[in-house]
């Protein structure tokens, strides 16, 4: 085998050692994303795209639905059997779907990107402050003679205000 001339050997080594993305006779086109119309396979059904976009919301919604169904069932059974020895177990059963809601909710928060996290923090802050304001105001109104309300109204109020806050702050960053 005849040795290569000095110059071309150097260029070979040069080619081998330093990868240059745009050198001649190599791939030079940019990494464009694939066009949707050229994607293989049939187009997505509306139901599939909804699942991809709103997966977390659907999961949390179904878990909440399961929690409510367990809660109604548990309360119904307890009303029918107020003196049964197993009543504590039945009363605790709805905690299982509630933990599922908590798990899905925490997972959703962990998967948000930095702007979405900021929006959620601002919405939580808004909800906390507005709930404090409203419950304090109603507390003083109660002192002035309005009827006493159940404490369980506080959480739905907080959740509703959180939704309002999330809508406000999402709109602000549009």
């Amino acid at each position: 085998m005849t040795p290569l001339p000095n110059k071309s050997r150097r260029s070979l080594q040069w080619n081998r050692c330093i990868p240059i993305p745009h050198r001649p006779f190599m791939r030079t086109e940019s990494n464009l994303p694939p066009q949707v119309s050229e994607m293989p396979g049939p187009p997505l059904l509306p139901v599939q795209s909804t699942w991809i976009t709103y997966r977390a919301q659907i999961e949390i919604g179904l878990a909440l639905l399961a929690y409510m169904m367990f809660l109604v069932g548990s309360v119904t059974i307890l009303r029918a059997n107020p003196d049964a020895s197993w009543r504590y177990i039945v009363a605790v059963v709805p905690v299982a779907p509630a933990s599922l809601v908590l798990f899905l909710f925490a997972r959703r928060l962990a998967r948000l990107d930095e702007l979405q996290r900021r929006i959620q923090i601002e919405a939580f802050g808004f909800s906390l402050a507005a709930t404090a304001l409203i419950t304090f105001a109603y507390g003083f109104l109660e002192g002035a003679g309005l009827p006493h309300l159940n404490w369980t109204y506080i959480l739905p109020l907080m959740a509703a205000l959180w939704a309002v806050g999330a809508a406000i702050f999402t709109f602000r960053y549009r």
Partner: protein
């Protein structure tokens, strides 16, 4: 903070969704950065710079009097 994201994106013919997918963030976040309503964190700014193969200073420009 001013930025050249829209121009850089147009040069490559990427949509906001394309860029969002490359960065691993939502399209909403790309839009908020582009319109200057949200300043990205340092890690996200660095991945933007890597994605466009430019330095951060070539993409973002601090407004006068704020730095």
């Amino acid at each position: 903070m001013k930025n050249r994201l829209r121009v850089l994106r147009a040069e490559l013919d990427w949509s906001q969704a394309d860029l969002a997918e490359r960065l691993g963030v939502s399209r909403q976040t790309v839009n908020a950065i582009e319109t200057g309503k949200y300043d990205p964190s340092l890690p996200l700014a660095f991945s933007l710079a890597r994605t466009f193969k430019r330095r951060i200073e070539e993409i973002f420009e601090a407004e006068q009097g704020r730095l």
